[in-house]
Amino acid sequence: MKLRTAFLAATAIALTGAAQAEELTIATVNNGDMIIMQKLAPEWEKATGYRINWVILEENVLRQRVTTDIATRGGQFDIMTVGSYEAPIWGKQGWLMPLDDLGEDYDYGDLIPSVAAGLSADGKLVAAPFYAESSFTMYRKDLFEAAGLTMPEQPTYGQIAEFVEKLTDKSREQYGICLRGKPGWGENMAFLGTLVNTYGGQWFDMDWQPQIDSQPWQEAISYYVELMTKYGPPGAVSNGFNENQALFQTGKCAIWIDATSAAGRVYDPKQSEVADKIAFAPAPQAVTPAGSAWFWAWSLAIPSSSTKADVAKSFIAWATSKDYVKLVGEKEGWVAVPPGTRLSTYELPEYQEAAPFAATVLASIEATDPARPTKDPVPYTGIQYVTIPEFQGIGTVVGQQISAALAGQTSVEAALKAAQDYAAREMSRAGYPK
């Protein structure tokens, strides 16, 4: 039956010359929420008669492809998935099309204000938020109970270390903590950025001098390396968000500090073996609450060179609308709804019921303040990243160095020294302080 429909459809296309139907090429990252978008997109295709070509890539590769294309104006993509780091920078360069005309029923006022602000350049929205996240602590309440532990309302990293020690049982492949180790400014440095912040550190001081070998960095990174070496899973150096999520879902981690957007999937009994055994708490703190949880928004944007802007806008309006949220809820389950973008999502009774984490997530996203990310004042915005073009290179190299320390190939001190030297050199080449 299916085959016959497919065959008929194919014949119909061949006869009517549907090849003329406008095609959109969308580049996106292989995270769960995007896979759902791809699954549901035929609804939009049916309604509009357009076709979508999906390019789904791993985060680092996606970023490289998309950046190369937009910077050279290659025009290979009609819609790009960009983060809150790229959006303001690229918007300022004039690379992204303003998205202030997505239709009357788009309801801009419903977007969470801090998210919309993070995706704007010169006061105009340049990327529509698809899902947004902060970071928090997920843990296994069954293991905590068994060990006689209770998670405080606001944990500290000191307490986490104590818990983790008691919760690790390597003989049963139960690891006290899972944290990102895969190098990349959007991977391990996302978590480590918040860790350094809460230890009182910063990327640059007010004169744009890199601070990577400063005391707070040493303390934070030593803490991380020691904790992961003793209580983390093997192979942590190649674990990014997706790998850790798989470990947590299969019950191998007792505590996982990562994106709030993971909640929908670890609470989903279809995907997670531990769905009914999880609880959560805010991201731990050390010296200061400033910048202890990150802010990130994956969003959809149109390159300004696009020749199919109208179609692209129609898709973006669909995929980031209130109706899309409801569609996901109905088709994939309410727990899988893309979080962190619209206030109305959090008012849906179905979502509140299915997602016990909803209020916490909303609160932590609203609480993040990329403009004031650290204990001491800094010349930049961005919590786990710095919104200057040079940051990608520096963040990548620092991430690599720290992963070498995590793998035990170099000491923390040597790694941070090498990272500091690289950053200092890059910044002086780039002509800072500006």
């Binding site: 090429t25 070509n53 791993e58 050279t72 290659g74 879902q249 999937r265």
Partner: protein, 276 residues
Amino acid sequence: MARKTSPTRQAVVTVAAWSIGFLIFLPILWTVILSFKSETDAIRTPLQVLSAPWTTASYAEVQGRSNYGAHFMNSVIISLGSTVLALLVAIPAAWAMAFQPGRRTKDLLMWMLSTKMMPAVGVLIPIYLMFRDFGLLDTRIGLTVVMTLINLPIVVWMLYTYFREIPSEILEAARMDGASLTKEIVHVLTPMAVPGIASTLLLNVILAWNEAFWTLQLTTSKAAPLTAFIASYSSPEGLFYAKLSAASTMAIAPILILGWFSQKQLVRGLTFGAVK
């Protein structure tokens, strides 16, 4: 083969060869096995994996998520097209080098080979800019041309070593008989050269099929071959072993089968003139 071998020795050789062959083949075999298991079974211990029920669910999911047929066709067109193009350019060159060698022929060959050592990443941005200006990004033609250029040195060299083994006396004899150049090529040279050309063709189809830098950088969707298809399964969220192995199996199966069937032809020309 005429040598007599003791039964014990033969038994030892048989066991050794089979176990080594099995070990070398194991990664591929294991991938195929995993592709027929469910995601949760695929991460268990090897024995548990083997006893777990079989399913084709992963293939269905991979097929539902990506358009395998289109990627497959792109791979076929690009690898075959670039090989044929390269042969067209290379056959005359190799013929001339083999039968009319000059003082610089060797140097020329080595220079050609050295162009293959150029790291592709180093010239990505220039190529990307040129492709953009000529409207070649994400087109099969663009990728075919690049593949042709990349494999041309190997094609020339393989053909050259093969042609050189054709005894030139035969050509001279044909010339004495008054054969024209076209006749010489069509009736004398071609039949002798066919095995060499066939094996060059095979090797280059394989190389082009498996090329994984330019195919990823210069295509997005319309011209994306199987290497791009596999890239989208490299680290998906959640459990992905079964899906990854299904996608891997689908990506390598066509060329593996082609390779097995044409083994003999392939090997015949693979000697690069090393066997006299």
